[in-house]
Symmetry: C2
Subunit: 458 residues, 2 copies
């Protein structure tokens, strides 16, 4: 099948009648049933030719001719299932979303913004199973923001990905105007305004952290290259798959076209957990806790900062007098929350992770409350805290709500904080050294003396 | 432990210092560790005595004396884990929610409504794992409606229930002001404004539908009695656990204090699926499809009504000319959607079911769009369609948004519809006969000749 068609479909068309001669794939078609499904698409020759030049990704471009004829709307059966060729190189529209999403049509509410495209990897997983519905519902980007979801799965998760698509269809979210599925990041990330990189290999039994860094690093290097090739030039990238800081660094290094400021690794779940524990200890509701920073790596070296945190606008240390708890138990509780949850729940947190991803995104598209900040692991270049200049490191950030952010300066770094932040920095430097081969450096060596575990790892 | 204390905790208190002599359970305490956790509570004697008379459920009331002394806020560790006695008879506050939810305090935004209490059974299951977060986020009842969640689990799901509670804590939803867990419906349903009855035994291998009716019927009879005893007098009850129509009937019959109109069984997922399939067939976006009714039982006899449905305000039959598809494939596709999803996804729909539950609730608390309606299985007494007067039967409803509804009259019932509606009615009459022993009738016999399956059953 031709990429021209995949692209045309994903760009959207809403035509009552159309007839088209286009390019047919020069190779053998995988099956006639897939082919006949595909012929239900709606497409004009003019659209196909108009869109061809916009194909940025040329690696697997093929000369193609397609015959696509749509006779009468009421007799058309739109494709009812995702179309993925056996070579797995395509993101395509799904079901009802193949026919409906031309936002230039009269049915688009006038007040709506331009379509926003969100690409999600690990889309068939449990975190995504919560997150996608939140994004489609309008909770993250607001009730006037139509959404396209591009979902990246794997060969193995293909059926589950279709299951997710069916459930999104059945949810009738008015803002969800496009749904494309695929297993090739070069297709799925095309024109993405946001890329949520959730999929990663979990650490298997007996696997060293260095192995995990290498295996996942390769995935994120490839995805960085794909983003570089096909995503929107100002795409925001949020890495959730662990080890997320170093994965984000790898991704960023492989995507030189994209501003380095646009790469984030998720530490918001840690921040939310820290706020909850401070509230619990102080006996206040959690919305009275503010200015909580997670410093460093999303690992057991992370530093939940009670020094600069506030309760009811007052320093936490004035409200919670139990210094031992703050300096010892608090940090440990936050770090071990994921593991405690796994013990209770039998699997890792999905719902609250999805909530924290939505929170992290909302923090970039809504103005930060005056005097407050949020945590995100961002690129350290020129940071005001003297952290090594080439890491993805969690720090206090604030945003005007335009998708961009700035690192909040002038937090008090006392000795307790400084020691721990240093340790997390050293860990990230070690991790970076382990993945030197993936970020264009040739002086790497891997010596992770302390085998720190990710939050939640058993 | 004293019910006085459980109640006081669930009513909320926000005290800096308190000291109290109250009643202690006359029986042996289960463990000193549980006891010491409990002693972290915040409670005044005046609160305890004030609240004692409001205990409606007297079955297990015990004379009690409690010593509860709280010294200083900053040294208090609020209970960090649910407290359930080994006899499993109590709903209690969870973690951070034990300390924070007195909405009479200054911190409550002035514009907020009175706390709304939502009880959920099957709270540790996958549907609830989506639904609870939606309710807590404000999506269902709006941004000015503080929420109390009372979660009903089972002995087996106790840990998972705590896992859900941990994730709700970590989500920092400002509207979620109370979270109580328990495994006794008489505790969990106390003062509930809404009861979402999701938990039910699934059909096991080789189990007849009659067996399923009996097993689940007993659960819903007990839950009906509990609602009758302790819930708010105008509680809205939505039954999701299958077979949901007859379960709702059983529940209603066992709760004579609660208005019969307040009982619903969920057919909204079927309606949503029907809308999606009509949109897909017509090549329009699903928000252009309206006036879709699901008639009858949430089973394979359900009748998705294309006769009265509209697309772009026009009768569906004028837009989709393919009569064979409408009369045969459409119904079958809707009925079998659940099963198709299980095949893809490996488990039954959870996310889209939760979305449809939220939709069903929103339909009762927001005014129905002029000229439109929604489907809900409701009590048939006095219905305008000549359906047997003593069933829970899905029909077109509309609401002023006050929690109440009326059945929409004057839909066109042609022969195609009439035949199928009759069949679904007969099935529900048979089911009712099978559960006669659970609804106070003594003329029951169970003769389910056709073993219809629930949507989604394999």
């Amino acid at each position: 099948m031709a990429e021209a068609v995949a692209l045309s479909m994903s760009m959207g068309s809403y035509l009552k009648n159309s007839s088209l001669q286009a390019t047919e794939c020069s190779r053998q078609e995988p099956s006639s049933s897939l082919r006949s499904k595909f012929l239900g698409c709606k497409l004009t020759a003019s659209q196909a030719s108009l869109q061809l030049p916009s194909i940025k990704h040329t690696r697997r471009q093929r000369p193609c001719v397609i015959q696509c004829s749509v006779v009468q709307q009421s007799q058309v059966q739109a494709p009812d299932s995702v179309f993925i060729t056996p070579d797995g190189r395509r993101a395509e529209c799904y079901g009802v979303f193949c026919t409906i999403y031309d936002l230039n049509e009269v049915e688009k509410p006038k007040s709506w913004k331009k379509l926003l495209r969100v690409a999600v990897s690990g889309a068939a997983g449990t975190i995504s199973n919560h997150l996608l519905f939140k994004i489609a519902s309008g909770e993250v980007f607001g009730p006037d923001q139509p959404i396209a979801l591009n979902l990246l799965g794997s060969e193995r998760s293909r059926n589950a990905l279709e299951g997710v698509a069916m459930e999104l269809e059945d949810s009738l979210y008015p803002l969800l105007r496009e749904l494309n599925l695929g297993i090739d990041s070069y297709e799925v990330f095309r024109d993405a305004d946001w890329a949520l990189l959730i999929g990663a290999k979990p650490r298997g039994p007996g696997m060293e952290r260095a192995d995990l860094l290498d295996i996942n690093g390769k995935i994120f290097a490839e995805q960085g290259k794909a983003l570089n090739a096909v995503a929107s030039e100002n795409v925001k990238v949020l890495v959730v798959g662990n080890p997320c800081n170093t994965n984000a660094l790898i991704c960023m290094k492989n995507a030189p076209r994209i501003p380095k400021k646009n790469f984030h690794a998720l530490t918001r779940l840690d921040e939310n957990r820290a706020k909850c524990q401070l509230a619990l200890k102080a006996g206040v509701f959690y919305d009275n806790v503010s200015n909580v920073t997670i410093w460093g790596n999303h690992s057991t070296t992370q530093v939940p900062d009670f020094v600069n945190a506030k309760i009811h606008g007052k320093p936490v240390t004035e409200v919670i007098k139990d210094k031992k708890w703050l300096e010892e138990e608090f940090t440990e509780t936050v770090q071990k929350r994921g593991g405690a949850l796994i013990k209770k729940w039998g699997r890792s947190s999905a719902a609250s992770t999805a909530v924290s991803i939505a929170d992290a995104m909302k923090s970039l598209v809504t103005p930060t409350r005056e005097g407050d900040w949020f945590s995100s692991a961002v690129y350290t270049e020129g940071n005001p805290y003297g952290i090594d200049n080439d890491l993805i490191f969690s720090m206090p950030c604030r945003s005007k709500g335009d998708g961009d952010y700035e690192i909040v300066p002038d937090l008090q770094i006392n000795e307790w904080l400084a020691t721990r932040i240093k340790k997390s920095e050293e860990e990230l430097i070690s991790e970076r050294s382990c993945v030197a081969h993936l970020i264009g450096q040739d002086n790497g060596y891997c010596d992770l003396t302390e085998d720190t575990r990710l939050p939640g790892e058993q």
